[in-house]
Symmetry: C2
Subunit: 479 residues, 2 copies
């Protein structure tokens, strides 16, 4: 199991910048309040927008595993390349799973069976931006590769089909396939609403295979649904182990005691430090390159769920914390100067892997240069662990609160645990802040303005508003 | 030339969250103060730690271009793979240049001449972390590739040679080459101090070719020295154009008027908003995937230069701002909810590319689905520009200050301009905050603690201090 060490968030370690340990006393209000929150979460489970909590349990678990594996088996055999078209919650989890569980050089490796250390499935490209370079560089590769497009599968992910970036990319790909005389259904698999919406209608009309985005599962909570599982399965990730990991985190995150419930405790610490002690920046800093993209997934979850202007009583609160991704040891040489000496406005969350044994790289003896001889006979994993502990110590010396989540090993099971831990921490944090963790009202205005700027009929007044608000001024320097 | 549009930082647009335009009046104190700062910078140019300001001028320019091109011509011919071993300022700029100026699929493309759209040089891997996965995945690729190691060049970058991560990686690579019977000088080129230090002695003993890290050029200001230029040149980047771009930004960033000096103005706006109006989080959000890694380079520059506990008078100030990288349009679906409705503690810096013409991707007509028909006949670049403008508008509507830096085109010249603009902005910001922008005192403690934990003789007391400070507690949850 993952462990959470929060000693460095307490006043014993970081003085007035930490939390009074008495607040964690089971007889005190915060700890007693948590029991009420677990009761509330027990009542709302599986209702409204909380169906994500059931993705790792039957019947959803079996339904999704069966459908995902069938589709992956079929498409994997005919694909050298998998191009995922999605954005936000339809991309960040896919990228994170791939980065965490396959080597960084995966796309460059020759293809081989599972367990060979080679590439277990097609190359994978997640195109999650509307810029021409993002899709263009993938199309350029497909053009230069032989057989390229012929052995490429496009996985379009959009619940509605109306997300502009994904819709535009899909139109480009559909046209390309058609111009090359390829049958769409041989190359496209969509993950979309099973019953309604624009993408649903397109898939029905074009005859595409589909997998469901289940009801009651919002984008940022969807990675353990087919949204995240299909591309992972295509690339050899053990998707059942992901769900098993999430399932194993279920009971711990329902415990009514603050001191034994890691999700409730994580939420309590971060909300308390964030709202009462000015630690509004929440850094997630894995000491493991493969987990760096997991911090991007966390960024969406934490920012979009908790960043809300109004609370559930309708009062203006401007709630939320700024999630920041950092990478150890890399960012010791970039951000730690600021984290120790700049404004004391952060909580740093370290993530480390206890056992790298199978993949550790020894540091050989033989160079014999005194200033760096202390490294000889060690290993990269040992150096990494020392640097992490040294940085933790240095932050404590500067009275900067921090905590550590430890993976026993880096594998699909523990990645599943990590995902579910943060999803539940987000649910608790939403309750503690008394906000709706499942909506995102502030993104609507930008969408409407985009429609106006792109000339969509009915949005003329938005176009006028944009041009009025942003009318040209002379506050421009042309260097 | 790049342009800087700062209208949305002013009170006209974002009310009390912006800057009073009167402060920019040439007769007022802030604007008059800038003239003094440009005078100071004229006096200190090329002295102490400010030699980076001369990298784009002769004699350094010619010296470096000649040496870098000679070395690149020689090594490029015999390399299919270039592995850069470096961290922090010896890696972030290299990654940023590669990402900005070569396609994301560069490593996958077949090799071809310049201008073919294919891969102009060796594949490039920048290994900037001590974790086993980072180096391990590259070694696994070299093992699986044929001829792999035989046609691989390792570019070790370390001024001192004592950076633990880089030293450890170098020891591993040196041993590997030796075990495979390869001559080190055929495979290793180092960028290091030309006269002193551990890496210098190693290079002399082993007979490695070297390029210089010039005196008076700190890591985070070194990208336009051989540190950044060599790997860029190896991969087909026009390194002379990078320096030409920097040179073209020289005169504008020396102008004594706040209203026409983009570096001074950027520094003034961000320091003013950061210190007086609580906008302590400084987001850099390129609307261009290729420029996303440039935000990592900016993160080091801004965080490590300005994050300082004491000012030059010795007073405790906890200065600095938290640089945050974001990506448009991607982060509209992840962070913009928070940026609009969370705490108003940010300045968002957009970066956009005006003209994508050569690489734009048209969105074809033909799907004919009403809800997304407005996209047909457009292009990805047009959609991207609309989404950026829509987001800018949405932020202004929420009274969130923001500015935009526009690249006329994405090429080496304008990347050079961008780099020098931010370096000069950092110099001005350091003066405005009255701190030393060139040191990083807070990273020493972690280095000493690492030495202690790794058993380096002489650091036993640091080991004891770490273990005393971080002694085990029961504030751990094992889920």
């Amino acid at each position: 199991m993952l462990t959470l060490d929060y000693a460095n968030c307490l006043a014993d370690r970081v003085g007035a910048h930490g939390i009074d340990p008495d607040l964690l006393d089971p007889q005190e209000e915060p700890a007693r309040g948590i029991a009420h929150l677990t009761e509330r979460l027990a009542r709302t489970r599986g209702t409204g927008q909380e169906r994500w909590r059931d993705l790792h349990r039957d019947p959803l678990r079996s339904e999704h595993l069966t459908a995902v594996r069938q589709a992956a088996d079929e498409f994997r055999a005919r694909a050298d390349n998998l191009v995922v078209l999605g954005i936000g919650g339809s991309a960040l989890g896919n990228i994170a799973l791939q980065a965490a569980l396959n080597p960084a050089t995966y796309n460059l490796l020759p293809r081989g069976g599972p367990g060979t250390g080679l590439r277990a499935g097609p190359r994978v490209f997640v195109v999650d931006n509307a810029d021409p370079a993002a899709l263009g560089s993938v199309l350029a590769f497909l053009e230069a590769d032989d057989p390229g497009l012929e052995r490429t599968v496009f996985n379009v992910i959009s619940k509605s089909g109306e997300t502009a970036e994904t819709a535009a990319q899909f139109m480009i790909v559909r046209d390309l396939l058609s111009r090359r005389g390829r049958r769409g259904p041989d190359h496209v698999i969509a993950i979309t609403d099973p019953a309604r919406g624009t993408m649903r209608r397109i898939c029905d009309a074009e005859g595409y295979r589909t997998l469901p985005v289940p009801d009651g599962v919002g984008g940022r909570f969807s990675v353990l649904s087919p949204v995240g599982l299909f591309s992972a399965a295509m690339c050899g990730v053990d998707v059942a182990a992901l769900l098993d990991g999430a399932a194993s985190m279920d009971a711990p995150t329902c415990r009514p005691e603050l001191a034994t419930n890691p999700a409730a405790l994580l939420a309590f610490l971060l909300v308390e430090l964030g709202t009462r002690q000015g630690k509004t920046n929440h850094v997630l800093m894995p000491y493991a390159t493969p987990l760096y993209s997991m911090a991007d997934w966390y960024r969406q979850l934490w920012a979009e769920s908790l960043g809300k202007k109004t609370d559930l009583r309708g009062e203006t609160v401007y709630a939320g914390f700024t999630p920041i991704k950092a990478l150890g040891t890399t960012d010791q040489h970039s951000q730690v100067q600021l984290y120790r000496e700049g404004p004391n406005d952060k909580v740093v969350g370290f993530v480390e892997v206890a056992d790298w044994s199978e993949t550790d790289v020894p540091i050989p003896a033989g160079l014999g240069v005194e200033a760096i001889a202390y490294l000889e006979g060690g290993s990269l994993a040992r150096l990494l662990a020392a640097e992490k502990r040294a940085t933790e110590y240095a932050l404590v010396e500067s009275l900067r609160p921090n905590y550590t989540i430890t993976f026993p090993r880096l594998d699909a099971f523990h990645v599943g645990q990590f995902i579910y831990l943060w999803e539940m921490a987000t649910a608790y944090a939403g309750l503690l802040l008394n906000i709706d963790a499942y909506d995102q009202p502030a993104v609507e205005l930008g969408k409407q303005a985009t429609f106006g700027l792109m000339g969509r009929p009915g949005y003329e007044k938005h176009l006028r508003a944009v041009n009025e608000t942003l009318k040209a001024t002379d506050h421009v320097i042309s260097a």
